[in-house]
Symmetry: C2
Subunit: 369 residues, 2 copies
């Protein structure tokens, strides 16, 4: 039961040790105590130069790598953040993770990802299984109330909600200003001379769809126009169908704002099929600025959201909350809002060069595909 009877092979590449070396193996090989090894490795506390060298050599010889799990337990910190996401696709998902990963790596944090959650039970389960694995959680769940879902967990670790409208309730959150963006797009269409701006909205109950709808409604009301709305479900086919329906109305719209780019593409196909010209007969605006938007002809005017940046901000926010919890300071449950950027391309009138800004300080960018 002494310290010396560990069975780790000496040579680094010769016999491959079945079990990796532990700190005690290193200690006994360097003929020092585990405390000294720990001090050397973490650069904490005073160590004699010669001791340091002996330890480093033993580390090299045994190719010792500290066991992060054990460290987490004794340090009461995992340096890991949990990420709980709904069923996301394509560019949105990859950009979000890219932003999270970048920000995490900067801070020496890891990402425990659990995606494709749609109902509340799954989210609860995911949250539960993260206890003791993470120092904080980033959660996105469009159909649910993030505050309630995160309530239990939020008492033990900080939670940041990522949502269409900012997390209501008492958890911190990052949200997209969907209403403001929709309003800016609608105003852009009105300013371009459209007399009847229609909206192809997303499914009712979906918080982002509702917010964009609200922004549209406010802007047309302000312009003294009657609202014209068709409902889609964010797919291309639904955008196509909705546009068809709009074209059959007695008073045809001369501009359409689709609640996302994918539906806008469907609408574009329907407009083309009807033999109408873009943007002369009908102007078209989308939302999201997916990569395809710039590749269409005419290239699509849209509201750009930098998803990667959204991820970075969320992680920065969470990292801050973890810090302040360590300092026993209560984290502020404030909700931070990211504003989309209006990107004007050929699907709307880009005559009127260099004129006035869009309202509400929404910045704007012209682009030629």
């Amino acid at each position: 039961m002494g310290l010396g009877d560990h069975s780790v092979t000496t040579s680094p590449s010769g016999g491959r040790p079945l079990k990796p070396a532990t700190i005690r193996d290193v200690a006994s090989r360097a003929a020092v105590s585990v405390a000294s090894v720990s001090r050397v490795l973490n650069g904490a506390g005073p160590v004699a130069l010669e001791t340091r060298d002996r330890v480093m050599e033993a580390v090299r010889e045994l190719s010792y790598v500290p066991h992060s799990g054990a460290r987490s337990l004794s340090m009461r910190r995992t340096d890991t953040v949990g990420v709980i996401l709904p069923d996301l696709h394509g560019e949105f998902f990859s950009e979000l993770i890219r932003g999270l990963d970048r920000a995490a790596r900067e801070r020496g944090l890891h990402l425990l990802v659990s995606s494709s959650h749609d109902d509340e039970a799954e989210v609860e389960a995911a949250l539960g299984s993260m206890r003791g694995r993470v120092d904080g959680i980033i959660i996105m769940s469009p159909h649910l109330d993030p505050a309630s879902v995160a309530g239990g967990m939020a008492r033990s670790v900080p939670v940041v909600a990522l949502s269409g409208d900012g997390g209501r309730g008492d958890v911190a959150g990052i949200g997209i200003d969907n209403a403001g963006g929709a309003r800016a797009m609608t105003a852009h269409l009105v300013e371009g001379g459209a007399r009847r701006v229609a909206h192809i909205r997303g499914p009712s109950g979906h918080s982002e769809a509702e917010a964009r709808m609200a922004g549209y409604a406010a802007a047309v009301a302000e312009a003294g126009q009657p609202p014209m709305v068709e409902t889609g479900d964010f797919t291309q086919a639904s955008g196509y169908r909705a546009m068809h329906a709009l074209l059959e109305r007695r008073a045809r719209p001369d501009a359409v704002f689709a609640a996302n780019d994918t539906m806008a593409i469907g609408a574009l196909l329907a407009i083309r099929e009807a033999g109408l010209r873009l943007p002369e007969d009908i102007a078209l605006g989308g939302f999201d600025d997916v990569p395809m938007a710039a590749l269409l002809r005419p290239a699509l005017t849209t509201m750009r959201i930098s998803i990667a940046e959204l991820g970075e901000r969320a992680l920065a926010r969470l990292a801050g909350a973890i810090q302040s919890r360590r300092a026993a300071a209560p984290a502020d449950p404030e909700v931070e809002i990211v504003r989309p950027l209006l990107v004007v391309r050929q699907s709307t009138f880009n005559h009127r060069q260099g004129e006035g800004q869009s309202p509400a300080s929404f910045s704007q960018e012209r682009q030629d595909a």
Copy 2:
């Protein structure tokens, strides 16, 4: 120092406990030992009915959730797999994670994701920091040799390499049959009547690009055609430029195989600009079957890889390796190959209905967008 002096509040929702309850809190509250609590919670070992009830009640009252980190340490298993990925984008990334996540959840595993690694040093660092956090690792790194990079880690946990051509070396791997796919596509173009099939390849040194190039070269050689090659870098702009170069050649190609769909789209724009018709003047084939491929007009013929399935298979493979390592059985370092599927759409000749299969048992599918 007794068992009873823990300071956790009694009521579940009243005073919020700063520190979550531990198994000892539960034990003392239920007036049993920690062993019994553990037995109840894990359903292992015999427990009296009444004891079980008391424990469950205490668990509820304290809203106790086991600390997975601590459990990992004593069980020597983390139920987590590490995923190390290069800088991936869009659909490929999200589908891969989707497949991994689905397969992981089925098995009660978690995903520790670290993405955007490009050079070897970063990968090494990521691997090191995963020691003690994961039971196994899935690694994808196109420019590097997965075997060497994973060599050190592979001694302590199983590693599965995800790569363009299957991991050489002594680690298990899953690969895509890029060469075979490229060959099938080229053969499809030849069979459609093309006399001069050109190839827009990916960057040299990139293993997938090389494999697809090799498949193309073999197929044109077999058909007795001279190779015509331009090099791109997998971006749309490079596909556009490469196609331009091909069109300026004295002997213009009558079919083009682009090494991925993104470059094929660039090529498509160039062909259109030159006033040529697809597929009559020039037939065009891609690789990957990105969602946009079916939406183009003409819709793009391409080789489909089910990325999500690739992820699922990789995880299944790793899970198997983890199992067998627990049973002290050596895992086989075999490389599993996934074959892409030829999806024929309008950008190539889809006359010749219902004729012979493509060579080498590559399955085929016709589709109308």
